[in-house]
Subunit: 398 residues, 2 copies
Amino acid sequence: MPLIANSLKGLNEMEGKNVFVIGAGSTKFGELWELGIRELISIAAANAAKSAGVGLNDVDSVFVANCFSGIVNSQLNINSICAEELGVANCVCVGGGDSSGAHAILQAANSVMSGKSRIAMAIGVEKTSDLSMSDIVGAVSCLADHEYEAYTGATLASLYGMITQKHMEKYGTTEAQIASVSVKSHSNAVNNEFAQFRFNVDADSVMKSPVVASPVRVLGSAAACDGCCAIIMCSGEAARKRRKKARLIGYGTGNDVVALHGREDITSFRALKDASRLALQDAGIGIQDISFAEVYDPFSIAEIISIEDLGISKAGEGGKFIENGFADIGGKCPINPSGGLKGCGHAFAANGVRQAMEAFIQLNGDAGARQVKNAKCALASCMSGTGSDAVVNIFSNE
Amino acid sequence: MPLIANSLKGLNEMEGKNVFVIGAGSTKFGELWELGIRELISIAAANAAKSAGVGLNDVDSVFVANCFSGIVNSQLNINSICAEELGVANCVCVGGGDSSGAHAILQAANSVMSGKSRIAMAIGVEKTSDLSMSDIVGAVSCLADHEYEAYTGATLASLYGMITQKHMEKYGTTEAQIASVSVKSHSNAVNNEFAQFRFNVDADSVMKSPVVASPVRVLGSAAACDGCCAIIMCSGEAARKRRKKARLIGYGTGNDVVALHGREDITSFRALKDASRLALQDAGIGIQDISFAEVYDPFSIAEIISIEDLGISKAGEGGKFIENGFADIGGKCPINPSGGLKGCGHAFAANGVRQAMEAFIQLNGDAGARQVKNAKCALASCMSGTGSDAVVNIFSNE
């Protein structure tokens, strides 16, 4: 059955329905052996509340995103764990694979817009280091189509290997261009205090790193990690007097069939195209109006294709865009100034919230050495698996 | 940290925010060997759409509840699976253990209230028969506290065994009273076309059935099963001309610490008490105003305590209430006219939606041989695990 177009009303169709981010907090991302899922939640939530200048008892509802707690941590009540740790009696899990964090933001925004919550928290948490490396590959494969892909032995890396191969064949994307994604991400992550990989890599090292699933290499793959990130949201009225804030000015969601074999073209993400078109339309802006973008980069090709699908470059020219430095901080359109999944570490359901935190930090001019100059409008795009689901959120400081 | 009271605005505080159920559909519940999770979703959604007289392409957004797809079906993108099967490009997973279905209803209602969706679907799906019996016990234990309960070997059955034991000691609840829960549930399920166990059991058989975790017996435990249930929701304006409908007139959520050892009293569910107090307050009614209740009964004691916590009987008299026939269809306050989890089968995340379907059917006078006479107002209460989380929804046909 063909997927229908998104027919939801956008933010701007809803009179007076302004929603703002007024605070953001995080744990460090990485292999956090000393912290369990409860501690991760507590730390990020406390940091977010502090950032917003509110108490946790001011929070009316919590929307928590998590991918793997059932499989990895044998815990299916993450919303109850949140309630217990944070003392908030309205916690609900929200999800959709590794775009769960971005979904949690939408539901938190919706709760504010409906008038149900005065202050809502979106929080994304992941604790993957409780699994061995072979087990985590199996867990991550649950983000693909189990019946048609994972069951036959395909992993996320091998599926992205096929996507990469096809993109190289179709557009002539080069290994050097693919390597430039990791070089840029690591370079940005150096200046991000929350990032796992705060060191530079050069293109040669990336291109000589071991192959995971040809042509995908280790240094072109984001590593699964632990991390938790939270943002605090409220209505425009409540945000009026706040100095630090970012307005959610548009959003969109999109879907595609889960298995790659069902898609017309695997060198583009239809779900992302749909989601970004709707989000930009909702915000009433064009892609040229955004100051920077945080995109989904579990493997380098995903960032390259995202640049193309968002319309930041033409189709097939995403690799060149990065290689030419246009995606650098200071370039035409900085991509993943935070370091992205590659530099920060890939904390699955936490990623979408981390992207929104980067938007909040950048739009308030607080990003220090990785600050995007005159950042006024930020686009955050998140996907699940190989792009079965996409969410695009657009934030502004105006 | 103590849990704070729910401070969300209720439905009735939000001017003109009427939300209605206008259709409901289900698969049969049971061991559905021939149906996968995709088929379950397709069948229930199609039945719900048919019941509402809408097309699936009229549905703006889908809120899908599922507990075990990651663990049991190795599939974490259930929202994308919904998008693929139903052709709706706005699908998000919503959850909180086995109360997920009730949470999905709240988020669907919220989406309608915010004006974001004109027509929203809440759907709960579970496919547990893909696991062996020993594996499902492990999976279900993820609904307890992993670190303090499941990790030490406690299962849901053993935790409910402790609760049952304590209730018997404190209040003198008898084995015969506990058995009367199953007798009633099976008797009601006989007349429910969707139920798994459509046969009568007598009290003697229940009391002689094997012990699972003393004093919990096999015939006092709901069996894990497969099933999917969906409801269609819209605004009051859109529902005005419809003949078949049920209005969501109040809701409440509550939380408690996850592990039993952290609670003051295990013979009562604090989360449920909080949720029902808030829901009744929201609806502006007293418990005496409800025509019947669908409650959470994974083990018989949960139904007994629910009757007490909801205020249908005094504390300690829930068992007597059922034994005296007051909970029968035709009794003072019918409980689980559908057959409950015991009679219908326990399809975890689907339960909350199934309860709302029963409310829709009963309030429109369509329940046939199990019809509650003059049913005007229905309360549905759902919990997760041993009551770490509770959601109460109240529906009316007026």
